[in-house]
């Protein structure tokens, strides 16, 4: 596989203190800035076991409740899509246009985020249902399921935030970490950033091709041809559906429907881009050099996932619309755990953080997003410093317990006795 051909950008120097040996030999340096290096090998081992336990408990508990959840989301998505398409047949009336476009945007977001991304991760494979399975699923976006599973599930989720290995760090054309050397090309970054937002699905499709390998001539010709064919096939079907067939069904007001579909695709792209950039590129997230993660153990892998991702705080609806990738920390620890369980296990993850003095990266959506934008703008220019990282997680004090309002009665009084 082309991605196995070695570190593609290994020329990136380690900008931290020089001559740092591998993490396994350095363990337990209490003055280290990176929490990974503060931990002793024994602690890392314990953390690995603690996270494995969380994983195994959920795995053993999966059942009807979870199956019902994903089925109802899938069903909701399909009903909403069908309904929106029907409403858009009357897209010449502005309220119908607005309603249909909103519905279609929401449907496309759900389809990509909570359904497609998570099904393709194999989160629902345990159901053994061929219709909700990573090996059979395809999604409403430009990249093919197969190439995305390789570039995302394998490359990104295995080499998370290792500069030079994880191609999601800057997607090979953006400088989002000061460890990446500056090139004049990055002056275009602010412009590219906007382009990537609106055309995100196409960016992802091209990213899957592994531009770096193509440029260096390391990509197998036949593989490249197959992948291009795959993308072209999907593109033709997507474009035919959204920009030819459904507009045609609206008759002479076809332009309105075309605009509606175009808008829905843009809305979905911008939203997906925002959620995904917020999950990895805010200032608090750590990146790693290849040397740092040499001889990594399972426990070390968990710690890297933990401090390399960042959560976004929000309501239940917000989490649903972000495909629960607002629980990016939990997702990176357990990429094949059903997304609906992330909220449940978050307190346990926090408890591990607190016990071992590790950060639990999180923040409100707007704050995270602005941080990402600030980095992208700043790092378009030479230099740049690593932003300060958060300290160890400390649980907020427990809210005072509500006292019974009726004197003499122990415990809360039920509202309808």
């Amino acid at each position: 596989m082309s991605t196995e051909s070695g570190p593609s950008t290994s020329s990136i120097p380690d900008t931290q203190d020089d001559a740092r040996p591998g993490v396994s030999r350095r363990g337990g340096d209490p003055t280290a800035s990176n929490p990974l290096h503060r931990l002793t090998p024994e602690q890392i081992e314990e953390i690995g076991e603690a996270f494995q336990k969380i994983h195994d408990e959920v795995r053993a508990d999966l059942g009807d409740r979870d199956a019902t959840y994903i089925r109802s989301i899938i069903e909701f998505h399909r009903r909403l899509t069908a309904l929106s398409r029907i409403v858009l047949m009357a897209s010449r009336y502005p309220p119908a246009w607005l309603l249909g476009t909103t519905g279609l945007s929401v449907a496309k977001i759900l389809e990509n985020m909570e359904i497609g991304h998570n099904v393709l991760h194999g989160q629902w494979d345990w159901m053994n249902d061929p219709q909700i399975h990573s090996s059979t699923w395809d999604w409403d976006t430009a990249s093919t399921a197969a190439s995305w599973k390789h570039s995302h599930n394998y490359i990104h989720h295995t080499f998370t935030n290792i500069v030079g290995k994880d191609k999601d760090v800057g997607y090979e054309f953006m400088r989002i970490d000061p460890k990446q050397p500056w090139e004049p090309f990055f002056l275009l970054q602010p412009l590219l950033n906007v382009l990537v937002m609106v055309a995100f699905e196409w960016g992802v499709a091209i990213h899957d091709l592994d531009l770096e390998a193509i440029r260096k001539g390391k990509k197998d010709k036949r593989q490249l041809r197959d992948e291009l064919k795959g993308i072209a096939g999907k593109a033709v079907r997507q474009i035919a559906k959204d920009y030819v067939l459904f507009p045609a069904l609206s008759g002479k007001h076809w332009k309105k429907t075309l605009k509606a579909n175009f808008t829905a695709n843009i809305v979905r792209n911008v939203w997906a881009n925002a959620i995904i950039f917020c999950g990895h590129f805010p200032d608090q997230a750590y990146t790693f050099t290849e040397e740092e993660v040499a001889d990594e153990t399972r426990g070390g892998w968990y710690v890297r996932q933990l401090i390399g991702a960042a959560n976004i705080e929000g309501s239940d609806t917000f989490h649903l619309m972000s495909g629960n990738l607002s629980y990016q920390v939990e997702h990176h620890l357990f990429p094949d755990m059903p997304s609906s369980r992330y909220k449940e296990i978050a307190p346990k993850v926090k408890a591990v953080c607190e016990q071992y003095g590790l950060p639990y990266n999180t923040g409100p959506f707007l704050q995270q997003w602005l941080m990402v934008q600030r980095s992208i703008l700043r790092l378009a220019f030479p230099g740049g410093q690593e932003r300060p990282k958060p300290g160890a997680y400390v649980a907020p004090p427990e809210p005072p317990r509500e006292r019974p309002t009726v004197p003499g009665v122990a415990g809360p009084v039920p509202a309808f006795p």
Binding site: G63, R65, A82, M127
Partner: protein, 366 residues
């Protein structure tokens, strides 16, 4: 890579219309939307509705199913993969088809004997009321009556191994071909004899059908040494046998010893599994069906590593059980999860080759 039901048989016109409509539903299928109105209208997978569950003995139940789409047909002796969902997970098992291939109402039946520790058989025998939707796999199996029908036959069965034999006997009766059939059946008690009533009745009506019931609780199990007494001309008969593995092994050896192994047709229901006593398992052999390679995995070696060492080109990704790139469908045998030590795997299940080792002989579609 996941185990699927069979493709239902639907008219060509409907299929063509569905294919055309895909342009509007891509990447989904029109069926995905049609199923919102009524799941049974979907043509993605063959399904059926349980219409009744007929109790045969204390432990065995015949499940009568009405297929949603047309039944492709079967030959007596063949088996059907049948799937159902238990606590959110779809499980599959194969059972011999015990219904008439030309059932007037187009119904299909399998007969299930409850295995106490089992997952599916207690569900099918206890919790599968009329109206339950089940998934129907393809009709499979080579165990069937030959053409032309043999003039002299010997049937040997034991326990729930009776099911394919029963189908064959009923077919022989229907085609008026029960001229000379001897049937030896091993059962613990006379009451536990699945289809016992019907077969005793058949023996009364047909002189050409002779039934011997070997009650193992009082007379011991059916053995090859019984053959000369019970069926002196057993060497001349076309023999069909279905039952526990040890029993079949013993009889196969006996037939081989006489040099007439080609006259013995057998159906085995239990795979050969390693004992799994050690923490990392016994290891085993893997046959990769697609790349057509064989590998041997020592104790604690994953299927992926063993396969690669044997020169097979296999899909792989993270090699730590997270990315689901390396999955293949298990066809034969069971595997051990190297992370938990747990031995698992059902026929048709997808498994991750990077974290599973074979436990005994395994065949996988990769």
């Amino acid at each position: 890579m996941v185990e699927k039901a069979a493709a239902p048989r639907i008219p060509a016109v409907r299929r063509a219309l569905l294919r055309a409509a895909r342009a509007l539903t891509t990447p989904l299928l029109p069926d995905d939307y049609i199923a919102l109105l009524d799941p049974r209208w979907s043509t993605r997978e063959a399904t059926g509705t349980v219409v009744r569950a007929r109790r045969e003995t204390d432990e065995a139940v015949t499940l009568v199913v009405r297929p949603t789409h047309g039944w492709p047909g079967h030959r007596p002796g063949q088996y059907l993969r049948i799937g159902a969902e238990i606590d959110g997970i779809r499980h599959w098992r194969a059972y011999s088809i015990t219904s008439d291939p030309e059932h007037p109402e187009g119904l299909v039946a399998v007969t299930v004997k409850e295995v106490e520790e089992g997952k599916m058989s207690p569900f099918f025998t206890r919790d599968c009321p009329p109206g339950t939707i089940v998934f129907l796999g393809a009709v499979e199996g080579e165990f069937a009556l030959p053409q032309p029908l043999p003039p002299k036959a010997l049937m040997i069965s034991a326990g729930s191994g009776i099911t394919p034999i029963f189908s064959m006997l009923r077919e022989l009766e229907r085609r008026d071909a029960l001229q000379d059939v001897v049937h030896l059946h091993g059962t613990r008690t006379a009451e536990g004899f699945i289809f016992g009533g019907m077969l005793r009745d058949l023996a009364e009506r047909h002189e050409g059908y002779r039934l011997h019931e070997q009650l193992s609780a009082q007379d011991g199990r059916l053995k090859t040494t019984h053959l000369d007494d019970l069926v002196p001309d057993w060497r001349e008969r076309e023999t069909f046998m279905s039952g526990p593995r040890e029993m079949i092994d013993a009889f196969v050896e006996h037939w081989e010893g006489e040099g007439i192994a080609d006259r013995l047709h057998t159906e085995r229901f239990q795979p050969i599994i390693g004992d799994g006593s050690a923490e990392v398992g016994s290891g085993g052999t893997v046959r990769f069906r697609v790349t057509d390679k064989e590998a041997t995995c020592e104790s604690g070696v994953s299927i992926l590593v063993g396969g690669e060492e044997a020169g097979a080109t296999l899909p792989y990704g993270c090699r730590m059980g997270i990315c689901h790139t390396c999955v293949g469908r298990l066809r034969v045998g069971r595997v051990r999860d190297l992370r938990s030590g747990e031995v698992h795997g059902e026929e048709g299940e997808t498994i991750r080759t990077c974290v599973n080792a074979p436990e005994g002989h395994v065949e996988i579609e990769l």
